[in-house]
Symmetry: C2
Subunit: 390 residues, 2 copies
């Protein structure tokens, strides 16, 4: 099973950009990363030497993939829970394991568990299939409009989440349409937050934990467009609270690997928004901005190697997501961006360009936050090129 | 020829660790790196998605490999000069080109050219096949013993270089044996240097140059074991002189890509020792220690993209080469090294372990040079494990 030097083989289910960047880290560590990818055109499939084409929804594909891997981990949360259990039963070492990963697939279960652990969360409730509209009205009577409607399963990057300002004909049809198609729904209060934060931690099987600086994430239309590390002006006590909360969660949920906790900062403190148990968009800044990138850290954690130093490499690091524009010839815009700012770092995911699609990210770091933000923003905007008319 | 986003394809001839680390950089840039490797077990062949197995000594293999590449570059200097010219004639964009690369294959030609350019070099001469011993005696009469005997072609990591303390039966047999086997030989004065330095620069086709901080390289038995950036206590004027000399050389020789100039620091100034036109062992520290790694820089240069920032990321960065010991189970020693120093960075090349073979390197950085050196040294020594009895 082991290659020269007894180095292990890590299997990663999913061939997206997270697997691609994990692959870069694996090369340095000398660890073989095998990727299960739906298509040879996926981000990680384009660069990996050991890519198996198959579906994460097929148990046969998953079991064939896992054969010969020392440990299996995940680029996304979409492996069906029953397949996770079957792999586990078959003796596949899955990190994170089925119990932990199940929480990221079911927002209602996640909220119930978090609340049970005493973690601060927005008010929430399951929307009953019988009389859903009356239920929403009464929920909003207490929490006020707007409310946030969520699909219990699936959804990411703003998909599966709807902010309802009120119940009218349009929103009522949305709710009833979703239920008619079999969706399970939940509702949450719309939190009047100051800003969004993310706390990224790693946990290893033997229980070591490591926390990265808490970052601010800036969203547009439900998509993260910018991450600032550390979150500017964040109160030290609140930062420690966020890190402590994420470490405690990782421990209580038995997470192995990375755990990203998305948080709302409100007038009265922190509320947990979402969880992800893998390298996360809010941690891409760590490639240049921290001594150990989140991708290396994830590999160290799932291999039960001691965790790496999370210290920042500069006072401020800003990551800007690079979204596709209308002109697919991104490369021709490289020259200008690199000439304009020789220190900005560009990461491409090998994806075909579509308007609004995340096709890469850029990172800048330095002492002056305003300057660093402007540099990252400029590079991402210029590389995007023309955007569709609003 | 181009993939999504019009990203180019770079071909790299040679599948060693330099190609492996260049591959990591290419993934981030979104550039496809195709590798020509002698074997599927080579360092870069183990990780690349687009690896062609073939010989750099076969023109057919080289031309087939180059087909579809926007530019071809090199992990080593061993492509025969006539093949370089044939590729060039066939319209393959080779960077560096045949003229420049030829200099790294012929130490005598290189010395003659450097001397012609007014670059400071050790005294040297060709050893004639007729009466070589008498020639060596008379050379040593002027420069003193010991002298350095070199094979004009081939040789690296101390191979093809012999320090002769005097002419006796053993050394005479060495010289005559080499000549009898058809080797061309040259002799150089043995420079009483204080230490060895290296100046790493990049040059792009349109003539942009970029210089990294000048480093000190520490050799043992002709193999570089440690690189310190910047060279401690190096006089500013001398550092500028080394950078200027390397930039001028790159320009005068028409180098495209990286140029590493190995230098002797002597009582009376700098002398040029060797040249390499590719990423170089003396630049591995740049992965963590500079804003732009030498591997990214090489890709930017050969693609004629603006060069990246060479500023150091920390006051001191130390790279220690990791040599194989007698116990091949390197991975089992990971745990201790990572637990001992969470901030040290380990790079493995995927090579099977043999005593004395370069199988990876480690990098440490920080403010206190003694501490940083000790950390890098400790990690490399521990990972090596038991060494053969002396």
């Amino acid at each position: 099973m082991k290659d020269a030097g007894n180095f292990p083989i890590v299997g990663m289910v999913g061939g997206g950009q997270l697997a691609r960047m994990t692959y870069q880290a694996a090369i340095g560590l000398g660890v073989s990363l095998r990727v299960l990818s739906a298509s040879g055109d996926d981000s990680a499939a384009l660069v990996g030497a050991d890519v198996r084409i198959g579906s994460h929804e097929s148990l046969d594909d998953l079991l064939a993939f896992a054969k010969g891997c020392d440990v299996v981990t995940f680029d996304h949360e979409h492996v069906p829970g029953e397949h996770m259990l079957s792999m586990w039963t078959a003796g596949v070492v899955c990190r994170p394991g089925p119990d932990a990963l199940a929480l990221t697939q079911n927002k209602l279960l996640m909220r119930e568990l978090l609340t049970g652990l005493g973690m601060p969360c927005p008010r929430f409730a399951e929307v009953p299939a019988a009389a859903p509209l009356r239920f929403l009205e009464s929920f909003a009577e207490e929490s006020g409009w707007p409310v946030v409607l969520k699909a219990v399963r699936g959804g990411y990057d703003g998909k599966g989440v709807w902010v309802l300002d009120t119940l009218n004909r349009e929103t009522a049809e949305l709710v009833q349409g979703l239920l008619a198609r079999g969706a399970e729904l939940m509702v949450e209060e719309h939190v009047p937050f100051r800003r969004e934060l993310a706390a990224l931690v790693a946990r290893s099987p033997h229980g070591q934990g490591a926390a990265y600086p808490v970052v601010e994430t800036v969203q547009q239309d439900g998509i993260c467009v910018e991450v600032i590390s550390p979150a500017p002006g964040l109160d030290d006590a609140l930062a420690l609270r966020a890190q402590g909360l994420a470490l405690e969660l990782a421990d209580r949920l038995g997470v192995v690997g990375l755990l990203a906790v998305e948080l709302f900062e409100t007038e009265s403190g922190l509320l947990v928004n979402e969880l992800a148990m893998r390298p996360h968009n809010s941690g891409h800044w760590t490639i240049e901005g921290a001594r150990t990138s989140q991708f290396e850290q994830h590999l160290r954690a799932v291999l039960d190697l001691p965790l790496g130093d999370t210290a920042p490499a500069a006072p401020y690091t800003v990551m800007a997501n690079l979204l596709g524009g209308t002109d697919p010839d991104v490369y021709s815009r490289y020259v200008h961006v690199m000439a304009h700012d020789p220190a900005v770092k560009v990461h491409f995911y090998g994806k075909s360009v579509r308007p609004g699609r995340k096709i890469g990210h850029v990172t800048a770091l330095g002492h002056d936050l305003d300057e660093v933000r402007a540099r990252a923003r400029y590079a991402a905007d210029h590389l995007r090129g023309p955007v569709p008319d609003a």
